[in-house]
């Protein structure tokens, strides 16, 4: 039973990968532009005059890149390249490959997003559960309005305010980049501390906003769960308050919360892209920003594809872990 469930989820993951590749292939074709002609005209105008034989040149290059073949053949070739992890060369930074550039940026983003997402999910969930619990300290009620307000603001706007406050006004923390300009990237304490110092502000702008969202969602689920009959029954049995809180309420309310995590990954990532762009943090988001500035189409495509695949995989992992949290899922599937 479990194997069928996992296989089905994996199929969905493959579907997402295929969808990402297909969107990447067909969306640019919709605009009806000819990238070879555009590039050649661009180069020619840089040289000062347009060659007479440019049409022949366009034809020649199209043949070389396989662009003279029918669309479905191009599509299959493209899918084949994607399956082999060949994301082409960067246009603006030739001869660097797109895969190489993404490979350099990816650890930064995975580190930043991994830590901030897990941290804010854990803190927000516990906070939300306590907010709904009648026996929680009274001062916690005052946390609600600021959490609501923060939750409604995009990550990067908070980032702007934080960077002005802590990097410009007080000058406590660096304002830009992933490490100091002169630092030598190596595994020693000095460099690690330097990287951490640079990560504080981007991380804080993600955490402060997300904690509010998780706390609000969890509080809503807790309120619903606490109204269930089995909680009333547990109270009637005279169970300890702490047991009811953790084993009866929290345990059940956390299930939709985890589903929410799988659904929110995309949004978190979109927000983080902008945070990285604002802070010049050397991850995927800043690379994407740079690619857009430099009009590096292959790099943009490669990043979009990689990120969609990575997120699809993360969702797949969450899906596989989920039945372990909620045993009903794996067995009750029709």
């Amino acid at each position: 039973m479990h194997a069928v469930y996992i296989a089905r989820r994996f199929l969905v993951f493959l579907l997402i990968v295929w969808l990402a590749a297909t969107l990447n292939f067909f969306l640019p074709k919709l605009s009806g532009q000819d990238p070879v002609r555009t590039k050649l005209l661009e180069e020619a105008s840089l040289g000062g005059y347009v060659h007479a034989g440019i049409d022949t040149m366009v034809k020649e290059y199209q043949k070389r890149f396989g662009l003279d073949k029918p669309l479905w053949r191009q599509y299959l070739t493209y899918l084949d390249d994607m399956a082999h992890g060949d994301l082409n060369y960067s246009i603006a930074n030739y001869p660097r490959t797109v895969v190489g550039m993404i490979g350099e940026a990816l650890p930064w983003t995975v580190g930043l997003l991994g830590v901030t997402t897990i941290f804010s999910f854990a803190v927000g969930t516990i906070l939300g559960a306590l907010l709904a619990w009648p026996r929680a300290p009274r001062w916690m009620r005052w946390l609600m309005p600021p959490l609501w307000a923060l939750h409604a603001i995009p990550f990067f706007l908070l980032g702007l305010v934080l960077s002005w406050l802590f990097a410009f006004r007080f000058q406590w923390l660096p304002i830009f980049g992933g490490y100091s300009a002169g630092a030598n990237p190596a595994w020693n304490w000095g460099f690690v501390l330097d990287v951490l110092r640079h990560a504080i502000l981007p991380a804080l702008s993600i955490v402060l906003v997300s904690v509010g969202g998780w706390a609000l969602a969890m509080r809503g689920m807790m309120v619903t769960t606490m109204g269930e009959d089995y909680v009333t029954f547990a109270e009637a049995k005279g169970l300890r308050s702490a047991t009811i809180f953790s084993r009866y309420c929290l345990r059940n309310a956390i299930l939709p919360q985890t589903t929410g995590l799988a659904l929110a990954l995309g949004q978190i990532l979109s927000g983080a892209v902008l945070v990285e762009a604002i802070f010049g943090y050397p991850g995927i988001g800043a690379l994407l920003f740079q690619a857009i500035e430099e009009n590096d189409f292959f790099l943009i495509q490669g990043i979009v594809f990689t990120v969609i695949v990575a997120l699809g995989f993360a969702t797949f992992v969450l899906d596989v872990v989920y039945p372990w949290l909620d045993p009903r899922i794996a067995y009750n599937r029709s």
């Binding site: 969905v12 579907l15 997402i16 969808l19 990402a20 969107l23 990447n24 969306l27 640019p28 919709l30 605009s31 532009q33 709904a132 609501w148 307000a149 939750h151 409604a152 603001i153 995009p154 990067f156 706007l157 702007l160 305010v161 960077s163 002005w164 990097a167 410009f168 304002i175 830009f176 509080r219 809503g220 309120v223 619903t224 109204g227 799988a262 659904l263 990954l265 995309g266 949004q267 990532l269 979109s270 892209v273 902008l274 762009a277 604002i278 994407l288 920003f289 857009i292 500035e293 189409f297 943009i300 495509q301 990043i303 979009v304 990120v307 969609i308 997120l311 699809g312 969702t315």
Partner: protein
């Protein structure tokens, strides 16, 4: 009415914020020359003063004029995309949830899989492919192309539970047709929920548009709020200490998001009275 509003402070607060913003736009449109939102219409980089209450930016735009001209543009993107998204989304959601069967499987799968893909990235690919400078309306259409996914999913879930109610059964036994039941029985009962979904979609669309604009994929000539932030980032206004340049758009955008968010919370409370227990 007044008594109810007292019990629903979130709605009042949200409406007050949006009303304040509306007042700013109307009074601004009547008193401020929005032509000054174009570059070179004022001395560059003036901090706020009597002549330029919000200051001016590096290209010589009067930031008060930029806010007066840009706020309605940004809201327009949000409302066009939000309405289209919820309109198309409800159509799919009601069809899927009322008729079930194969059409439901197809619509649900598309929405579920589409939602695991981060929308901003797909929007980036679309915007980059179209090239050239976009107009504000084109931007709204691009965002609307994905804005129906999330409403489809949430509205479908609501309709699923509603269609099992007794009065729907009675309507069916009375010989009402499918579309009739959808429009005369189901939709009126979901109106508060649809309204909350609409406000949420408008907010999401504005967020997406601001995101695209900050990355430099917006309407370059239009003085929208997101484009203003793009120029802020482009000119490194924070490091240079030009605080007034980003304060104005920041305050306006935060007001928009907070207003829409609290209206959603308030509408949710109307749509789902069970939440009142927790208040």
């Amino acid at each position: 009415m007044a008594g109810y509003l007292r019990r629903n402070p979130a709605l009042v607060f949200g409406l007050a914020l949006l009303g304040f913003l509306g007042l700013f736009m109307v009074v601004g449109a009547l008193t401020v020359d929005t032509g000054n939102a174009q570059p070179l219409s004022a001395p560059a980089l003036q901090p706020p003063s009597w002549d330029y209450p919000f200051g001016t930016d590096r290209q010589g735009r009067d930031l008060l004029a930029v806010m007066v001209a840009g706020t309605p543009l940004t809201l327009r993107i949000g409302f066009i995309a939000g309405f289209l998204g919820v309109g198309v989304g409800s159509l799919f959601a009601f069809t899927a949830a009322y008729y079930r069967g194969r059409i439901d499987t197809v619509i649900r799968s598309i929405a579920d899989i589409g939602l695991t893909i981060p929308q901003l990235l797909v929007l980036i690919i679309i915007a980059v492919s179209l090239k050239g400078s976009l107009t504000v309306n084109q931007m709204a259409i691009i965002i609307a192309s994905l804005a129906w996914l999330s409403p489809t999913r949430t509205i479908r879930a609501q309709v699923l539970s509603l269609r099992e109610r007794g009065y729907v059964e009675v309507a069916r036994l009375n010989g009402m047709s499918g579309p009739e039941i959808i429009f005369r029985e189901l939709m009126p009962n979901l109106l508060p929920f649809l309204a909350a979904t609409l406000v949420g979609s408008v907010s999401a669309a504005i967020l997406a548009s601001v995101g695209l604009e900050v990355l430099g994929l917006g309407p370059v000539e239009a003085p929208t709020l997101g484009m203003t932030l793009y120029w802020v980032n482009f000119n490194a206004a924070i490091i240079n200490g030009w605080w007034w340049w980003w304060t104005a758009p920041l305050v306006v955008i935060v007001t928009v998001f907070l207003g829409l968010f609290f209206v959603t919370v308030g509408l949710d409370e109307i749509a789902n009275p069970r939440l009142r227990r927790s208040a």
